[in-house]
């Protein structure tokens, strides 16, 4: 069965509608039964199709009557507190979906900004960025630096613990301590240029690669 996206509106075609009704009704009743089995609570469903006056019910006429009576016996407020119709339910779905949309947009923005950060790190010009983008970029860089600091300080405290514990450990710690990295070449200066040339930055990167790998 191919998964096609179904439009959320009344199906005009009679036979298509009939088929869909049959399938979905079956699926719905199955889901009702499942929730009853898994959670062990009273559950019932009444479905009137557009085609006849006899409803489909689950689990049985008798059980539905019982559960519906139980429902109606509850205080009015409890009944209405968690009741939905199409109107209220769709509004809720719209709200939830908007929340998801916002979150996804934020996530995407973050990813885009990370890209910009790496591109500008490698030498791409900042000229094309708006003030707001520069703002966000700055924020992103701050965040990265914070995280780097955290990793570095964690590593330092681990090594301090190791160094403090025993002499052999101390020897190991010495091994772990890296030689101080060479200072960044000042004549290459900045990682990004005011001009649009990637060359200086690329050369710098290559320099780093050679020293590290």
């Amino acid at each position: 069965m191919t998964r096609e996206k179904v439009k959320l509106c009344h199906i005009a075609n009679d036979s298509a509608r009939k088929t869909t009704f049959k399938k979905r009704k079956k699926g719905l009743l199955k889901k009702v039964s499942e929730i009853h089995t898994l959670c062990g609570t009273d559950t019932c469903a009444i479905i009137y199709g557009p085609y006849d006056n006899q409803p489909d019910v689950w689990p049985s006429n008798h059980e539905v009557e019982r559960i519906v009576s139980k429902f109606k016996r509850m205080p009015e407020m409890k009944q209405s507190k968690k009741t939905e119709n199409q109107n209220s339910f769709l509004r809720w779905r719209i709200m939830k979906s908007n929340e998801h949309l916002q979150k996804q947009r934020n996530d995407n923005r973050e990813k885009e900004m990370t890209d910009v950060m790496f591109q500008t790190l490698a030498g791409k010009s900042l000229h094309s960025l708006s003030l707001m983008e520069l703002n966000d970029l700055g924020s992103m860089i701050e965040q990265q630096l914070k995280e780097i600091d955290k990793i570095q300080s964690d590593a330092n405290s681990i090594m301090a613990t190791v160094a403090g514990s025993s002499s052999s450990a101390a020897a190991a710690a010495t091994l772990l301590t890296p030689t101080p990295p060479p200072p960044p070449p000042t004549d290459h200066g900045v990682m990004m240029n005011d001009g649009d040339s990637y060359q200086a930055a690329a050369a710098l990167m290559e320099l780093m690669n050679h020293k590290i790998l």
């Binding site: 009344h10 699926g27 889901k31 898994l38 519906v68 998801h100 600091d149 570095q152």
Partner: protein, 238 residues
């Protein structure tokens, strides 16, 4: 990347043994159930009532046109009344539901588009990560790499600040505004970068804060125009 959840698992059709799992399951499935019911009503014009009692003794119900009317119809075994007024009410209600469905569809489409974009971005990220060591997650970098990255980032930050300063001078804000706000010590430029939780502004004073020239224009009113650069995204960002 570690998965946050196990993904789709097959569930055994027996009452769930774990109490808290049961609650979660109920909540999720009830929501999904109502969604399916809502779709059945929309697509096929069915009238439905569903009543579910929760493990916590609360009762949830969904009904179209409403729970009460469908229950009554069932109990009395009578076909629904269809007076002229009723039909009018129903038509009105259905029109409202149609609108809501259209709205929902729109949002869902946008969501799908953004998700797709998100996947594209992730793919791009992965591709560049393979080529450039400095793009790898920082947990994977060794100490010298980390240090290099740090220094480069700090340099970049300075340049971002410089560029931003340049743009602000060139922007629509009149020059006296610029100097005026800096003389108040906590003016628009600082607020520009005064992002929540980043401490970014702490680095800015030396870079961007020009020495306030003496005898300039009287301080302007507090600067909402600069505020406009600090909206929306940064709040949602972290």
């Amino acid at each position: 990347m570690t998965r946050k959840s196990k993904g789709r698992q097959k569930v055994e059709m027996v009452k769930m043994p774990n109490e808290s799992n049961l609650q979660v399951t109920f909540s999720k499935r009830r929501s999904g159930l109502f969604k399916k019911a809502s779709e059945l009503c929309t697509l096929c014009g069915a009238d439905i009532a569903i009543v579910v009692f929760s493990p916590g003794k609360k009762v949830f119900s969904f009904g179209h046109p409403c729970v009460e009317s469908v229950i009554d119809r069932f109990i009395t075994r009578n076909p629904p009344p269809t007076s002229g007024t009723m039909q009018l009410i129903e038509a009105h209600r259905n029109a409202g539901v149609r609108d809501l469905n259209m709205q929902l569809t729109q949002v869902l489409n946008q969501l799908e588009a953004e998700k797709k974009r998100g996947e594209e971005l992730t793919q791009m990220r992965k591709a560049s990560q393979r080529q450039c060591w400095w793009q790898a997650p920082i947990e994977e970098l060794n100490q010298p790499q980390l240090e290099h990255l740090k220094v480069s980032l700090e340099e970049l930050k300075k340049n971002v600040g410089k560029q931003a300063e340049k743009l602000m001078i060139q922007s629509s804000a009149p020059p006296q505004y610029f100097f005026g706000s800096s003389s108040t010590g906590n003016g628009g430029i600082h607020r520009q970068f005064d992002l929540k939780n980043t401490g970014f502004s702490s680095n800015m004073p030396n870079m961007m804060h020009p020495p306030p020239p003496p005898n300039m224009m009287p301080p302007p009113p507090p600067p909402p125009p600069h505020q406009r650069y600090n909206t929306g995204f940064s709040r949602g960002f972290y």
